[in-house]
Protein backbone atom coordinates (compact mmCIF):
# COMPACT_ATOMS: atom_id res chain seq x y z
CA UNK A 1 0.00 0.00 0.00
CA UNK A 2 2.73 2.41 1.06
CA UNK A 3 4.82 1.62 -1.96
CA UNK A 4 1.80 2.11 -4.21
CA UNK A 5 1.12 5.56 -2.66
CA UNK A 6 4.73 6.47 -3.15
CA UNK A 7 4.46 5.57 -6.81
CA UNK A 8 1.31 7.70 -7.22
CA UNK A 9 2.90 10.65 -5.43
CA UNK A 10 5.99 10.44 -7.60
CA UNK A 11 3.82 10.32 -10.67
CA UNK A 12 1.85 13.35 -9.50
CA UNK A 13 5.01 15.26 -8.69
CA UNK A 14 6.30 14.56 -12.19
CA UNK A 15 3.01 15.67 -13.72
CA UNK A 16 2.88 18.83 -11.57
CA UNK A 17 6.45 19.75 -12.40
CA UNK A 18 5.89 19.17 -16.11
CA UNK A 19 2.80 21.36 -15.90
CA UNK A 20 4.81 24.13 -14.28
CA UNK A 21 7.42 23.99 -17.02
CA UNK A 22 4.81 24.33 -19.69
CA UNK A 23 3.30 27.37 -17.97
CA UNK A 24 6.61 29.17 -17.65
CA UNK A 25 6.33 32.86 -18.36
CA UNK A 26 2.60 33.09 -17.79
CA UNK A 27 0.47 33.00 -14.67
CA UNK A 28 -0.87 29.50 -14.34
CA UNK A 29 -4.60 29.51 -13.59
CA UNK A 30 -5.24 27.57 -10.38
CA UNK A 31 -7.25 24.47 -11.06
CA UNK A 32 -9.82 23.99 -8.34
CA UNK A 33 -11.74 21.10 -6.91
CA UNK A 34 -13.84 20.57 -3.84
CA UNK A 35 -13.67 18.94 -0.42
CA UNK A 36 -16.43 18.20 2.02
CA UNK A 37 -16.19 18.13 5.81
CA UNK A 38 -18.77 16.33 7.92
CA UNK A 39 -19.25 17.24 11.58
CA UNK A 40 -20.67 14.26 13.43
CA UNK A 41 -21.59 15.02 17.04
CA UNK A 42 -21.29 12.30 19.67
CA UNK A 43 -21.77 11.95 23.40
CA UNK A 44 -19.09 9.45 24.34
CA UNK A 45 -19.76 6.43 22.17
CA UNK A 46 -23.41 7.37 21.46
CA UNK A 47 -24.36 9.37 18.37
CA UNK A 48 -25.90 12.62 19.58
CA UNK A 49 -29.70 12.81 19.73
CA UNK A 50 -31.77 15.70 21.04
CA UNK A 51 -34.71 15.54 23.41
CA UNK A 52 -37.45 18.11 23.96
CA UNK A 53 -36.54 20.87 26.41
CA UNK A 54 -37.30 19.80 29.96
CA UNK A 55 -37.51 16.08 29.10
CA UNK A 56 -36.38 13.83 31.95
CA UNK A 57 -35.54 10.97 29.65
CA UNK A 58 -31.79 10.79 30.25
CA UNK A 59 -29.85 9.20 27.44
CA UNK A 60 -26.38 10.08 28.61
CA UNK A 61 -24.21 9.81 31.70
CA UNK A 62 -21.09 11.84 32.52
CA UNK A 63 -17.89 10.16 33.62
CA UNK A 64 -18.84 11.15 37.18
CA UNK A 65 -22.14 9.30 36.81
CA UNK A 66 -24.54 12.26 36.36
CA UNK A 67 -27.44 11.62 33.99
CA UNK A 68 -28.40 14.20 31.38
CA UNK A 69 -29.86 14.80 27.96
CA UNK A 70 -29.47 17.52 25.35
CA UNK A 71 -32.10 19.80 23.82
CA UNK A 72 -29.74 22.12 21.94
CA UNK A 73 -26.20 21.70 20.72
CA UNK A 74 -24.67 24.20 18.34
CA UNK A 75 -21.34 25.79 17.47
CA UNK A 76 -19.69 28.08 14.97
CA UNK A 77 -16.84 26.98 12.72
CA UNK A 78 -14.69 29.50 10.84
CA UNK A 79 -11.26 30.10 9.28
CA UNK A 80 -10.93 26.66 7.71
CA UNK A 81 -7.50 25.94 6.29
CA UNK A 82 -6.15 22.86 4.53
CA UNK A 83 -2.54 21.83 4.12
CA UNK A 84 -0.82 19.08 2.18
CA UNK A 85 2.46 17.20 2.45
CA UNK A 86 3.72 18.73 -0.79
CA UNK A 87 2.91 22.32 0.02
CA UNK A 88 -0.67 22.43 -1.28
CA UNK A 89 -2.75 24.81 0.80
CA UNK A 90 -6.20 26.33 0.97
CA UNK A 91 -7.67 29.11 3.06
CA UNK A 92 -11.42 29.55 3.10
CA UNK A 93 -12.45 33.06 2.12
CA UNK A 94 -13.92 35.04 5.02
CA UNK A 95 -16.60 37.70 4.76
CA UNK A 96 -18.86 38.87 7.60
CA UNK A 97 -21.23 40.87 5.40
CA UNK A 98 -24.57 42.51 6.19
CA UNK A 99 -25.83 40.79 3.05
CA UNK A 100 -26.69 37.23 4.10
CA UNK A 101 -25.90 35.92 0.60
CA UNK A 102 -22.37 37.28 0.82
CA UNK A 103 -21.47 35.83 4.21
CA UNK A 104 -18.56 33.46 3.61
CA UNK A 105 -16.31 31.28 5.70
CA UNK A 106 -18.57 31.23 8.79
CA UNK A 107 -20.60 28.10 9.49
CA UNK A 108 -23.12 27.16 12.14
CA UNK A 109 -23.32 23.47 12.99
CA UNK A 110 -26.60 22.84 14.72
CA UNK A 111 -27.63 19.40 15.96
CA UNK A 112 -31.03 18.48 14.51
CA UNK A 113 -30.38 20.29 11.22
CA UNK A 114 -28.57 17.67 9.11
CA UNK A 115 -27.80 20.16 6.32
CA UNK A 116 -25.63 22.06 8.77
CA UNK A 117 -23.38 19.03 9.42
CA UNK A 118 -21.70 19.35 6.04
CA UNK A 119 -19.35 22.10 4.97
CA UNK A 120 -18.56 22.05 1.29
CA UNK A 121 -15.39 23.82 0.34
CA UNK A 122 -15.25 24.76 -3.31
CA UNK A 123 -12.29 26.42 -4.96
CA UNK A 124 -9.77 24.14 -3.22
CA UNK A 125 -6.66 24.00 -5.40
CA UNK A 126 -6.19 20.56 -6.90
CA UNK A 127 -3.60 18.64 -4.89
CA UNK A 128 -2.98 16.45 -1.89
CA UNK A 129 -4.04 17.31 1.64
CA UNK A 130 -3.44 15.67 4.99
CA UNK A 131 -4.13 18.31 7.59
CA UNK A 132 -6.77 20.87 8.49
CA UNK A 133 -7.06 23.80 10.86
CA UNK A 134 -10.21 25.63 11.89
CA UNK A 135 -11.54 27.95 14.55
CA UNK A 136 -14.38 27.14 16.88
CA UNK A 137 -16.23 30.42 17.35
CA UNK A 138 -16.23 33.83 15.73
CA UNK A 139 -12.94 35.58 16.39
CA UNK A 140 -12.15 39.28 16.42
CA UNK A 141 -12.14 39.77 12.65
CA UNK A 142 -15.69 38.43 12.45
CA UNK A 143 -17.07 40.57 15.28
CA UNK A 144 -15.24 43.77 14.44
CA UNK A 145 -16.59 43.98 10.90
CA UNK A 146 -19.84 45.09 12.53
CA UNK A 147 -23.39 43.89 12.03
CA UNK A 148 -23.57 40.84 9.76
CA UNK A 149 -26.34 38.79 8.18
CA UNK A 150 -27.39 35.18 7.74
CA UNK A 151 -26.06 32.83 10.40
CA UNK A 152 -24.45 35.86 12.09
CA UNK A 153 -27.76 37.77 12.43
CA UNK A 154 -29.09 37.63 16.02
CA UNK A 155 -32.61 38.30 14.70
CA UNK A 156 -32.33 35.11 12.64
CA UNK A 157 -31.00 32.75 15.27
CA UNK A 158 -27.38 33.78 15.82
CA UNK A 159 -26.48 33.53 19.50
CA UNK A 160 -25.02 36.89 20.44
CA UNK A 161 -24.21 38.50 23.78
CA UNK A 162 -25.41 42.09 23.68
CA UNK A 163 -23.79 43.53 26.84
CA UNK A 164 -20.40 41.97 26.11
CA UNK A 165 -20.70 41.96 22.35
CA UNK A 166 -19.73 38.76 20.64
CA UNK A 167 -21.08 35.45 19.40
CA UNK A 168 -21.54 32.38 21.57
CA UNK A 169 -19.03 29.90 20.15
CA UNK A 170 -20.65 26.78 21.54
CA UNK A 171 -24.05 26.31 23.15
CA UNK A 172 -25.02 23.18 25.09
CA UNK A 173 -28.46 22.95 26.69
CA UNK A 174 -30.48 20.13 28.15
CA UNK A 175 -31.71 18.60 31.38
CA UNK A 176 -29.61 17.00 34.10
CA UNK A 177 -31.01 15.14 37.08
CA UNK A 178 -28.58 16.99 39.37
CA UNK A 179 -29.21 20.52 38.06
CA UNK A 180 -30.87 22.63 40.79
CA UNK A 181 -32.42 24.97 38.20
CA UNK A 182 -35.99 25.85 39.21
CA UNK A 183 -38.82 26.34 36.74
CA UNK A 184 -38.98 30.04 35.79
CA UNK A 185 -41.66 31.74 33.73
CA UNK A 186 -41.30 35.30 32.54
CA UNK A 187 -43.49 36.91 29.83
CA UNK A 188 -44.38 33.49 28.47
CA UNK A 189 -40.75 32.39 28.27
CA UNK A 190 -40.27 29.24 30.32
CA UNK A 191 -37.06 27.81 31.70
CA UNK A 192 -37.90 24.26 32.74
CA UNK A 193 -36.82 22.70 36.03
CA UNK A 194 -33.49 20.83 36.17
CA UNK A 195 -32.32 22.27 32.88
CA UNK A 196 -28.81 23.54 32.16
CA UNK A 197 -27.56 26.17 29.75
CA UNK A 198 -23.82 26.11 29.16
CA UNK A 199 -22.72 28.84 26.76
CA UNK A 200 -19.10 29.17 25.75
CA UNK A 201 -18.27 32.64 24.42
CA UNK A 202 -15.74 35.44 24.72
CA UNK A 203 -13.31 36.42 21.99
CA UNK A 204 -11.65 39.56 23.28
CA UNK A 205 -7.93 39.94 23.47
CA UNK A 206 -7.68 43.66 23.01
CA UNK A 207 -4.67 45.84 23.58
CA UNK A 208 -4.61 47.25 27.10
CA UNK A 209 -7.19 44.75 28.29
CA UNK A 210 -5.09 42.00 29.82
CA UNK A 211 -8.00 40.81 31.92
CA UNK A 212 -10.16 39.82 28.96
CA UNK A 213 -10.99 36.18 28.44
CA UNK A 214 -10.57 34.78 24.95
CA UNK A 215 -12.35 31.45 24.53
CA UNK A 216 -11.81 31.16 20.79
CA UNK A 217 -9.96 27.91 20.12
CA UNK A 218 -8.06 26.73 17.07
CA UNK A 219 -8.22 23.06 16.22
CA UNK A 220 -5.57 21.33 14.10
CA UNK A 221 -6.27 17.81 12.89
CA UNK A 222 -4.19 15.35 10.97
CA UNK A 223 -6.19 13.26 8.52
CA UNK A 224 -3.99 10.25 9.24
CA UNK A 225 -4.07 9.73 5.49
CA UNK A 226 -3.62 11.78 2.36
CA UNK A 227 -6.63 12.82 0.27
CA UNK A 228 -6.47 14.08 -3.28
CA UNK A 229 -8.61 16.96 -4.42
CA UNK A 230 -9.06 16.68 -8.15
CA UNK A 231 -11.27 18.34 -10.70
CA UNK A 232 -13.55 15.33 -10.58
CA UNK A 233 -12.70 13.85 -7.19
CA UNK A 234 -14.26 15.38 -4.09
CA UNK A 235 -12.90 13.78 -0.94
CA UNK A 236 -14.79 13.85 2.33
CA UNK A 237 -13.33 14.34 5.80
CA UNK A 238 -15.49 12.86 8.53
CA UNK A 239 -14.95 14.56 11.90
CA UNK A 240 -16.33 13.41 15.22
CA UNK A 241 -16.97 15.95 17.98
CA UNK A 242 -17.40 14.21 21.33
CA UNK A 243 -19.14 16.66 23.68
CA UNK A 244 -18.65 14.32 26.64
CA UNK A 245 -14.94 15.10 26.47
CA UNK A 246 -15.85 18.73 27.20
CA UNK A 247 -18.05 17.90 30.18
CA UNK A 248 -15.69 15.30 31.62
CA UNK A 249 -12.49 17.15 30.77
CA UNK A 250 -13.81 20.29 32.47
CA UNK A 251 -15.17 18.12 35.32
CA UNK A 252 -18.63 19.65 34.96
CA UNK A 253 -20.76 18.84 38.01
CA UNK A 254 -24.32 19.82 37.08
CA UNK A 255 -25.20 20.42 40.74
CA UNK A 256 -22.68 23.31 40.70
CA UNK A 257 -22.40 24.32 37.06
CA UNK A 258 -25.74 24.56 35.28
CA UNK A 259 -25.86 28.17 34.04
CA UNK A 260 -22.83 29.58 32.23
CA UNK A 261 -23.41 32.88 30.42
CA UNK A 262 -20.13 34.74 30.62
CA UNK A 263 -16.61 34.03 29.35
CA UNK A 264 -14.63 33.28 32.50
CA UNK A 265 -16.68 30.37 33.81
CA UNK A 266 -16.50 28.81 30.34
CA UNK A 267 -12.69 28.69 30.15
CA UNK A 268 -12.40 25.08 31.41
CA UNK A 269 -14.89 23.97 28.73
CA UNK A 270 -13.19 26.00 25.98
CA UNK A 271 -9.88 24.38 26.87
CA UNK A 272 -11.35 20.93 26.17
CA UNK A 273 -12.70 21.83 22.72
CA UNK A 274 -9.56 21.05 20.67
CA UNK A 275 -9.27 17.58 22.22
CA UNK A 276 -12.93 16.78 21.56
CA UNK A 277 -12.48 16.69 17.79
CA UNK A 278 -11.05 13.69 15.98
CA UNK A 279 -10.83 12.67 12.35
CA UNK A 280 -12.88 9.49 12.22
CA UNK A 281 -12.00 8.69 8.63
CA UNK A 282 -11.55 10.23 5.22
CA UNK A 283 -13.23 9.12 2.00
CA UNK A 284 -11.26 9.60 -1.15
Amino acid sequence: MKRYSYFIISLLVIILFSACEEDEGGTAPTVSGALSIEFDNYVGTQPMQLDPEGSTDYRYTTGAGQEFNLSTFRYYISNIKLEGPDGASFEDEMNASANADEVQGYYLVQEGDPDSYFIDLDEVPVGQYNKMTFTLGIAEEGVQEGAAGGILDPAEGAWFWTWNSGYISLGMEGTAADSPQERVERDGLVTEANTFQLHVGGWKELEGNDNMVNNIRTITLDFGDVVTVGQDVKPKVHLVFDMLKILDGAAIDFSQTFQVHAPRAAVPMADEIPGAFTVDHVHQ
Binding site: V143, Q144, G146, G166
Partner: protein
Protein backbone atom coordinates in the same frame (compact mmCIF):
# COMPACT_ATOMS: atom_id res chain seq x y z
CA UNK B 1 -22.38 67.05 -4.96
CA UNK B 2 -24.37 67.11 -1.73
CA UNK B 3 -21.92 66.96 1.16
CA UNK B 4 -24.57 67.40 3.86
CA UNK B 5 -24.31 63.75 4.81
CA UNK B 6 -20.65 63.09 4.08
CA UNK B 7 -18.46 61.91 6.94
CA UNK B 8 -15.47 64.18 7.32
CA UNK B 9 -12.86 63.85 10.02
CA UNK B 10 -12.25 67.18 11.78
CA UNK B 11 -8.65 68.36 11.27
CA UNK B 12 -7.81 68.12 14.98
CA UNK B 13 -9.34 64.64 15.48
CA UNK B 14 -7.71 61.19 15.45
CA UNK B 15 -8.49 58.65 12.72
CA UNK B 16 -11.99 57.14 12.99
CA UNK B 17 -12.42 53.54 14.16
CA UNK B 18 -15.72 52.88 12.39
CA UNK B 19 -15.77 50.35 9.51
CA UNK B 20 -16.94 52.73 6.78
CA UNK B 21 -15.84 50.25 4.11
CA UNK B 22 -18.72 48.00 5.18
CA UNK B 23 -21.23 50.80 5.65
CA UNK B 24 -20.59 54.07 3.83
CA UNK B 25 -22.84 56.95 4.82
CA UNK B 26 -25.52 57.87 2.28
CA UNK B 27 -28.30 60.49 2.59
CA UNK B 28 -30.94 57.72 2.47
CA UNK B 29 -29.18 55.59 5.11
CA UNK B 30 -28.60 58.58 7.39
CA UNK B 31 -32.24 59.72 7.19
CA UNK B 32 -33.44 56.17 7.85
CA UNK B 33 -31.17 55.94 10.90
CA UNK B 34 -32.55 59.27 12.12
CA UNK B 35 -36.11 58.08 11.77
CA UNK B 36 -35.30 54.88 13.71
CA UNK B 37 -33.57 56.93 16.42
CA UNK B 38 -36.80 58.80 17.11
CA UNK B 39 -39.15 55.82 16.70
CA UNK B 40 -40.61 54.17 19.85
CA UNK B 41 -41.51 51.15 17.69
CA UNK B 42 -38.16 49.80 18.83
CA UNK B 43 -39.48 49.18 22.36
CA UNK B 44 -41.71 46.35 23.54
CA UNK B 45 -44.80 48.51 24.11
CA UNK B 46 -44.04 51.38 21.74
CA UNK B 47 -43.25 53.80 24.55
CA UNK B 48 -39.50 54.36 24.43
CA UNK B 49 -37.29 55.61 21.60
CA UNK B 50 -33.53 56.27 21.65
CA UNK B 51 -34.30 59.99 21.84
CA UNK B 52 -36.06 59.51 25.19
CA UNK B 53 -32.70 59.24 26.93
CA UNK B 54 -30.51 60.97 24.33
CA UNK B 55 -31.70 64.53 23.77
CA UNK B 56 -29.94 66.75 21.28
CA UNK B 57 -30.17 69.93 23.35
CA UNK B 58 -28.24 68.10 26.05
CA UNK B 59 -25.60 66.83 23.61
CA UNK B 60 -27.65 63.63 23.39
CA UNK B 61 -27.41 62.95 27.12
CA UNK B 62 -30.43 62.37 29.37
CA UNK B 63 -32.03 65.17 31.34
CA UNK B 64 -30.98 65.99 34.92
CA UNK B 65 -34.41 64.83 36.07
CA UNK B 66 -33.45 61.32 34.87
CA UNK B 67 -30.21 60.43 36.65
CA UNK B 68 -30.90 56.86 35.51
CA UNK B 69 -32.54 56.00 32.19
CA UNK B 70 -36.28 55.41 32.27
CA UNK B 71 -37.34 52.41 30.19
CA UNK B 72 -40.60 50.60 29.42
CA UNK B 73 -43.12 50.39 32.28
CA UNK B 74 -41.23 53.32 33.86
CA UNK B 75 -38.45 51.01 34.96
CA UNK B 76 -35.24 52.64 36.09
CA UNK B 77 -31.96 51.62 34.48
CA UNK B 78 -28.76 51.20 36.45
CA UNK B 79 -26.59 53.96 35.00
CA UNK B 80 -26.69 57.52 33.71
CA UNK B 81 -27.21 57.56 29.94
CA UNK B 82 -24.00 58.84 28.33
CA UNK B 83 -24.02 61.71 25.82
CA UNK B 84 -23.63 60.72 22.15
CA UNK B 85 -20.95 62.45 20.10
CA UNK B 86 -17.91 61.49 18.07
CA UNK B 87 -18.91 57.83 18.17
CA UNK B 88 -17.03 57.07 14.95
CA UNK B 89 -13.80 57.59 16.88
CA UNK B 90 -14.38 55.27 19.83
CA UNK B 91 -13.19 51.71 20.32
CA UNK B 92 -15.54 50.63 23.08
CA UNK B 93 -19.00 51.75 24.12
CA UNK B 94 -21.04 52.12 27.31
CA UNK B 95 -19.68 52.83 30.78
CA UNK B 96 -18.15 49.34 30.98
CA UNK B 97 -16.91 49.19 27.38
CA UNK B 98 -18.64 45.86 26.81
CA UNK B 99 -19.58 46.66 23.22
CA UNK B 100 -16.72 46.90 20.77
CA UNK B 101 -18.41 48.07 17.59
CA UNK B 102 -20.86 50.91 17.04
CA UNK B 103 -23.22 48.66 15.03
CA UNK B 104 -23.97 46.59 18.14
CA UNK B 105 -24.74 49.54 20.41
CA UNK B 106 -28.49 49.84 19.64
CA UNK B 107 -29.02 46.09 20.21
CA UNK B 108 -27.95 46.56 23.80
CA UNK B 109 -30.59 49.25 24.47
CA UNK B 110 -33.29 47.40 22.51
CA UNK B 111 -32.87 44.09 24.34
CA UNK B 112 -32.10 45.39 27.84
CA UNK B 113 -35.07 44.50 30.05
CA UNK B 114 -34.88 47.85 31.85
CA UNK B 115 -34.66 49.88 28.65
CA UNK B 116 -36.67 48.85 25.56
CA UNK B 117 -37.15 45.20 26.56
CA UNK B 118 -37.75 44.06 22.99
CA UNK B 119 -36.08 41.36 20.92
CA UNK B 120 -34.12 42.27 17.83
CA UNK B 121 -36.20 39.73 15.88
CA UNK B 122 -39.48 41.42 16.91
CA UNK B 123 -38.20 44.85 15.91
CA UNK B 124 -37.26 43.48 12.49
CA UNK B 125 -40.75 41.94 12.16
CA UNK B 126 -42.41 45.22 13.09
CA UNK B 127 -40.31 47.08 10.55
CA UNK B 128 -41.12 44.59 7.79
CA UNK B 129 -44.86 44.98 8.50
CA UNK B 130 -44.69 48.77 8.68
CA UNK B 131 -46.35 50.77 5.84
CA UNK B 132 -43.25 52.90 5.16
CA UNK B 133 -40.05 51.28 6.43
CA UNK B 134 -39.68 48.56 3.76
CA UNK B 135 -39.51 51.20 1.01
CA UNK B 136 -37.02 53.27 3.01
CA UNK B 137 -34.71 50.26 3.48
CA UNK B 138 -35.05 49.49 -0.23
CA UNK B 139 -33.93 53.04 -1.03
CA UNK B 140 -31.07 53.01 1.46
CA UNK B 141 -29.69 49.49 0.95
CA UNK B 142 -31.45 48.00 -2.08
CA UNK B 143 -32.96 45.19 0.01
CA UNK B 144 -36.46 43.74 -0.40
CA UNK B 145 -36.61 42.37 3.13
CA UNK B 146 -35.40 44.19 6.21
CA UNK B 147 -32.84 42.29 8.29
CA UNK B 148 -31.13 43.38 11.50
CA UNK B 149 -27.69 44.20 10.05
CA UNK B 150 -29.22 46.76 7.70
CA UNK B 151 -31.22 48.30 10.54
CA UNK B 152 -28.02 48.52 12.61
CA UNK B 153 -26.15 49.98 9.64
CA UNK B 154 -28.80 52.71 9.31
CA UNK B 155 -28.38 53.54 12.99
CA UNK B 156 -24.61 53.71 12.60
CA UNK B 157 -24.88 56.01 9.58
CA UNK B 158 -26.86 58.42 11.73
CA UNK B 159 -24.57 58.08 14.74
CA UNK B 160 -21.20 58.42 12.99
CA UNK B 161 -22.35 61.78 11.66
CA UNK B 162 -22.83 63.04 15.23
CA UNK B 163 -19.51 64.83 15.21
CA UNK B 164 -19.01 67.51 17.79
CA UNK B 165 -15.96 69.51 16.74
CA UNK B 166 -17.11 73.12 16.54
CA UNK B 167 -16.85 74.29 20.11
CA UNK B 168 -15.11 77.55 20.99
CA UNK B 169 -12.10 75.41 21.97
CA UNK B 170 -11.98 73.69 18.55
CA UNK B 171 -12.13 76.97 16.67
CA UNK B 172 -9.33 78.25 18.87
CA UNK B 173 -7.02 75.25 18.35
CA UNK B 174 -7.72 75.17 14.62
CA UNK B 175 -6.93 78.91 14.34
CA UNK B 176 -10.32 79.75 12.96
CA UNK B 177 -10.37 83.25 14.43
CA UNK B 178 -11.64 82.31 17.87
CA UNK B 179 -9.74 83.37 20.98
CA UNK B 180 -9.93 82.14 24.55
CA UNK B 181 -10.06 84.60 27.45
CA UNK B 182 -7.25 84.76 29.99
CA UNK B 183 -9.35 82.84 32.50
CA UNK B 184 -10.15 80.14 29.90
CA UNK B 185 -6.48 79.87 28.93
CA UNK B 186 -5.46 79.57 32.58
CA UNK B 187 -8.13 76.92 32.96
CA UNK B 188 -6.84 75.07 29.91
CA UNK B 189 -3.29 74.97 31.28
CA UNK B 190 -4.54 73.81 34.67
CA UNK B 191 -6.75 71.20 32.99
CA UNK B 192 -3.80 69.79 31.07
CA UNK B 193 -1.75 69.65 34.25
CA UNK B 194 -4.40 68.29 36.63
CA UNK B 195 -6.77 66.28 34.40
CA UNK B 196 -4.88 65.65 31.15
CA UNK B 197 -3.36 62.31 32.15
CA UNK B 198 -6.76 60.60 31.73
CA UNK B 199 -8.75 63.18 29.75
CA UNK B 200 -6.13 63.32 27.02
CA UNK B 201 -6.19 64.14 23.34
CA UNK B 202 -8.77 66.01 21.32
CA UNK B 203 -11.59 63.76 22.51
CA UNK B 204 -10.56 64.46 26.11
CA UNK B 205 -10.34 60.80 27.07
CA UNK B 206 -7.75 58.07 26.85
CA UNK B 207 -10.72 55.66 26.79
CA UNK B 208 -9.24 53.58 29.59
CA UNK B 209 -11.21 52.20 32.52
CA UNK B 210 -10.48 53.63 35.93
CA UNK B 211 -11.85 53.82 39.46
CA UNK B 212 -12.10 57.55 40.19
CA UNK B 213 -12.96 57.14 43.87
CA UNK B 214 -16.65 57.92 43.51
CA UNK B 215 -17.47 55.19 46.02
CA UNK B 216 -15.85 52.62 48.28
CA UNK B 217 -18.20 49.80 47.31
CA UNK B 218 -19.57 48.98 43.89
CA UNK B 219 -22.86 47.15 43.51
CA UNK B 220 -22.40 48.00 39.82
CA UNK B 221 -18.98 46.46 39.22
CA UNK B 222 -18.40 48.41 36.00
CA UNK B 223 -15.55 47.09 33.88
CA UNK B 224 -15.42 43.90 35.96
CA UNK B 225 -18.84 43.06 34.58
CA UNK B 226 -17.07 42.52 31.25
CA UNK B 227 -13.65 41.21 32.31
CA UNK B 228 -14.95 39.31 35.38
CA UNK B 229 -11.68 40.26 37.05
CA UNK B 230 -11.56 41.60 40.63
CA UNK B 231 -8.92 44.17 39.72
CA UNK B 232 -11.51 45.87 37.47
CA UNK B 233 -14.25 46.27 40.08
CA UNK B 234 -15.36 49.90 40.29
CA UNK B 235 -13.64 50.91 37.06
CA UNK B 236 -15.62 52.80 34.46
CA UNK B 237 -14.70 54.31 31.13
CA UNK B 238 -13.01 57.70 31.28
CA UNK B 239 -15.67 59.78 29.50
CA UNK B 240 -15.00 62.31 26.80
CA UNK B 241 -15.53 65.81 28.15
CA UNK B 242 -16.92 67.36 25.00
CA UNK B 243 -20.16 69.21 25.82
CA UNK B 244 -19.62 68.28 29.46
CA UNK B 245 -21.31 71.47 30.71
CA UNK B 246 -24.57 70.25 29.08
CA UNK B 247 -24.59 66.68 30.37
CA UNK B 248 -25.25 66.82 34.12
CA UNK B 249 -25.54 64.80 36.28
CA UNK B 250 -22.10 63.21 36.25
CA UNK B 251 -20.46 59.79 36.73
CA UNK B 252 -21.93 56.37 35.98
CA UNK B 253 -24.15 56.58 39.04
CA UNK B 254 -25.13 60.23 38.46
CA UNK B 255 -24.02 61.08 41.97
CA UNK B 256 -22.57 64.52 41.19
CA UNK B 257 -25.08 67.15 40.11
CA UNK B 258 -22.82 69.95 38.87
CA UNK B 259 -19.32 70.53 37.50
CA UNK B 260 -18.50 72.29 40.78
CA UNK B 261 -19.31 69.04 42.60
CA UNK B 262 -17.16 67.09 40.12
CA UNK B 263 -14.11 69.29 40.66
CA UNK B 264 -14.68 69.27 44.44
CA UNK B 265 -14.83 65.48 44.27
CA UNK B 266 -11.41 65.26 42.66
CA UNK B 267 -9.98 67.88 45.03
CA UNK B 268 -11.31 66.51 48.30
CA UNK B 269 -13.93 63.81 47.86
CA UNK B 270 -12.00 60.85 46.44
CA UNK B 271 -12.73 57.69 48.39
CA UNK B 272 -10.24 54.88 48.81
CA UNK B 273 -10.75 51.31 47.68
CA UNK B 274 -8.44 48.58 46.45
CA UNK B 275 -8.89 49.44 42.77
CA UNK B 276 -8.67 53.26 43.13
CA UNK B 277 -6.65 54.70 40.27
CA UNK B 278 -2.99 55.26 41.27
CA UNK B 279 -3.13 58.76 39.77
CA UNK B 280 -5.60 59.67 42.51
CA UNK B 281 -3.48 58.29 45.32
CA UNK B 282 0.13 59.37 45.58
CA UNK B 283 0.53 57.56 48.90
CA UNK B 284 0.37 60.78 50.94
CA UNK B 285 -2.98 62.15 49.84
CA UNK B 286 -6.07 61.12 47.89
CA UNK B 287 -7.29 63.11 44.91
CA UNK B 288 -5.81 65.98 42.92
CA UNK B 289 -4.39 69.03 44.62
CA UNK B 290 -6.44 72.04 43.43
CA UNK B 291 -7.45 75.32 45.06
CA UNK B 292 -11.04 76.57 44.81
CA UNK B 293 -9.87 79.20 42.33
CA UNK B 294 -8.14 76.59 40.18
CA UNK B 295 -11.29 74.45 40.16
CA UNK B 296 -13.31 77.44 38.98
CA UNK B 297 -10.80 78.17 36.22
CA UNK B 298 -10.90 74.58 35.01
CA UNK B 299 -14.70 74.78 34.82
CA UNK B 300 -14.38 77.99 32.81
CA UNK B 301 -12.24 76.06 30.33
CA UNK B 302 -14.60 73.06 30.26
CA UNK B 303 -17.40 75.41 29.20
CA UNK B 304 -15.46 76.19 26.02
CA UNK B 305 -16.02 72.53 25.01
CA UNK B 306 -19.74 73.10 24.45
CA UNK B 307 -20.53 72.86 20.75
CA UNK B 308 -23.60 75.00 20.15
CA UNK B 309 -23.65 74.18 16.43
CA UNK B 310 -23.83 70.46 17.27
CA UNK B 311 -26.73 70.75 19.70
CA UNK B 312 -28.68 72.89 17.22
CA UNK B 313 -27.72 70.98 14.04
CA UNK B 314 -30.95 70.47 12.08
CA UNK B 315 -29.67 67.26 10.52
CA UNK B 316 -30.15 65.53 13.87
CA UNK B 317 -33.69 66.75 14.44
CA UNK B 318 -36.85 64.71 14.04
CA UNK B 319 -38.19 66.15 10.81
CA UNK B 320 -41.02 63.72 10.13
Amino acid sequence: MDITYRFEKPANFPEPTYTFENNPVTPEGFRLGRRLFFDPLLSRDGSVSCSNCHQQGLAFADGPQHPFSVGVDNQLGIRNAPPLANLAFKREFFWDGGVTHLDFVPTNAIENELEMDESLANVVDKLNQHPEYPALFKQAFGVDTITSPYMLHAFSQFMVMMISANSKYDKYVRNEGETLTDEELKGMRLFEEKCGACHSGELFSDFSFRNNGISTTFSDEGRARITEHPSDIGKFRVPSLRNIARTAPYMHNARLKTLEEVLAHYASGVQESSTLDPLLNDGAQLGILMTDEEQAQIITFLETLTDYEFIADERFQNTQ
